[in-house]
């Protein structure tokens, strides 16, 4: 009987196996791990690789790098407040430049996607250390355009490229809107967030998986793309400098067949788990904020306490004294709301 514990140094063996000795099925699996553009470039290696790289099996999963580098970025623009960012983003969206970035990306998406593709992996590539939220926003505009793109189906009724996508995997994405970027992504697909699909019957996404992503915290409350109605009346600012304004939640697979509430809860749990401890200085910050709140804003805070915190759930707003609230006893997502809340804004009817 052989002794399986006998040490054996494989590196000193004389072996002659090369990648060319592998069967097609294994090469398919190796090539399947590569990014779409690299798959195309490797077609030039030899006739066998070209044949395998063009095989239908590799059309099921497409992995793609998303690179956006805005030229001539306005160096004066600093991400100071959310309203400022919204204003800036609105200007950019009206200008042709973000559209041009999307226009550059879309033909690439169309070339690499097939109507058999069911899984897409998008890898955010940050080109420089100064990769900004505006660039992240541009990338999302392109991604939304990708998932909502509709090409007129062919006469034989075959679906457009990407029409059968059901699974999205996001790597290293920077999401200003945090969770809401993902929800809008899903809604865009189902037609709830866009009318682009109204003449077609797209396959709704089943899952969105993310890893190494960076979510801006206030994106939990408000959104460039999908302002949740309960916060429509609030002006949100970035967190005080004593607190990190973003989190990297652990990798996760969101099941989009679940309700929106369940999805929100899942991501809220992710955020809570990955949030660094809040510094004790925030208690003073909150006490100071309370003193400066307008009456309308105070009512908004009380409503938030009743909505979010169990101990206040049966209280009447008039019975709550904000100055007596034990801030340290509140859940961290409630605290984050108060930290980024600036004021109630007047919403025109």
């Amino acid at each position: 009987m052989a002794d399986s514990s006998e040490p054996f140094d494989l590196n000193i063996c004389s072996l002659h196996l090369t990648i060319d000795d592998l069967p097609d099925e294994i090469l398919v699996e190796i090539f399947g791990e590569l990014e779409a553009l690299q798959q195309r470039l490797l077609q030039r290696t030899c006739a066998r690789w070209k044949r395998i790289l063009l095989s239908r099996r590799l059309q099921l999963v497409v992995r793609m790098d998303v690179k956006i580098e805005l030229k001539g970025k306005d160096p004066r623009f600093k991400f100071s407040t959310f309203p400022a960012l919204v204003k800036r983003a609105t200007c950019l969206c009206r200008s042709p430049h973000i559209g041009r970035c999307s226009d550059d990306l879309l033909p690439v998406f169309r070339k690499i996607l097939h109507n058999r593709t069911t899984v897409i992996q998008l890898n955010w590539i940050e080109n420089s250390e100064s990769y900004s939220l505006i660039e992240a926003l541009t990338a999302w505009v392109a991604v939304f355009a990708l998932v909502s793109q509709v090409k007129t189906p062919a006469k034989d009724g075959t679906l457009a490229e990407g029409a059968n996508l059901t699974h999205v995997m996001l790597d290293n994405a920077v999401a200003i809107d945090g969770l809401h970027n993902l929800i809008v992504l899903a809604q865009t697909r189902t037609g709830r967030g866009s009318d682009l699909w109204r003449n077609h019957d797209p396959v709704p996404f089943k899952t969105i998986a993310y890893r190494r992503c960076r979510f801006e915290l206030f994106g939990y409350y408000t959104s460039l793309f999908n302002n949740p109605s309960q916060y429509r009346d609030s002006l949100m600012n970035p967190f005080p400098s004593s607190h990190c304004s973003w989190v990297r939640p652990p990798m996760r697979v969101l099941d989009l067949t679940e309700t929106k509430e369940a999805l929100e809860q899942a991501v809220a749990n992710s955020i809570i788990q990955s949030l660094p401890p809040l510094p004790s200085s925030i208690w003073d910050t909150l006490r100071d904020k309370v003193r400066e709140l307008s009456t309308v804003s105070q009512m908004r805070w009380k409503a938030e306490l009743i909505r979010k915190e169990k101990r206040f759930s049966t209280a009447q707003a008039d019975d709550i004294s904000l100055e007596d609230v034990e801030w340290s006893q509140l859940g961290c997502l409630t605290l984050l709301f108060f930290l980024c809340f600036d004021d109630v804004r007047i919403v025109a009817n």
Binding site: E29, T45, L92
Partner: protein, 191 residues
């Protein structure tokens, strides 16, 4: 973390259970715990075909395509993962892909596969033969990570692959894939 990746197989699986004997290409016989052996879908299938009541006898399952030196290495991996992995039901292809996306190559496996490329290819072939999907996938990901950093010319040289295209054919492919070449960052301007 165990240092089993350094090729020691002294780690033992807690469950005594049934023992399965297998023989390598050279005829060397190894005795494996049932849980370890069944991580290979091929061995699992054979055992199920034979009926598990026969598993405890002296019959030896021949693994005629696997050399002893590679089998020893695979055994290290099997023993480690039999002791550390949760049993999972087979997944649909897409779910498998997502599960793999959500799983970085664990540190232990990275160390395990930190060997000469030719050895990785041998392990990959053996894992394919034995139908150990997870190990085969790890090897594929590792090789793909190597390919990601190389140009076509470097790959041809590294693996001794002959360029069997005519100059005209190669030029044609170049034209077809020119849009991927040196793909610049998509540029716009936000004035």
């Amino acid at each position: 973390m165990s240092t089993a990746a350094s090729s020691s197989t002294s780690e033992t699986i807690a469950e005594p259970g049934l023992k399965i004997k297998v023989s390598t290409k050279e005829g060397e016989v190894f005795e494996l715990d049932e849980k370890v052996a069944k991580m290979s879908q091929v061995i699992r299938g054979i055992l199920e075909d034979l009926g598990e009541q026969n598993g405890g006898d002296d019959s030896v399952l021949p693994l005629t395509q696997v050399e002893t030196r590679i089998f020893r290495k695979i055994l290290v991996w099997l023993k480690y993962h039999a002791g550390h992995d949760k049993e999972e039901a087979p997944k649909a292809e897409e779910d498998e892909i997502i599960a793999r996306f959500c799983e970085e190559i664990p540190e232990w496996d990275q160390k395990f596969l930190n060997v000469d490329q030719a050895v990785i290819l041998e392990i990959m072939l053996a894992a394919d033969y034995l139908d150990i999907k997870k190990l085969r996938g790890l090897c594929c990901k590792t090789v793909a990570n190597i390919l990601k950093t190389k140009t076509v010319e470097q790959i041809r040289e590294m693996y001794g692959i002959e360029n069997d295209f005519t100059p005209e054919e190669e030029e044609e492919i170049r034209k077809q894939t020119a849009w991927c070449e040196d793909e610049p960052p998509r540029q716009g301007s936000n004035h």
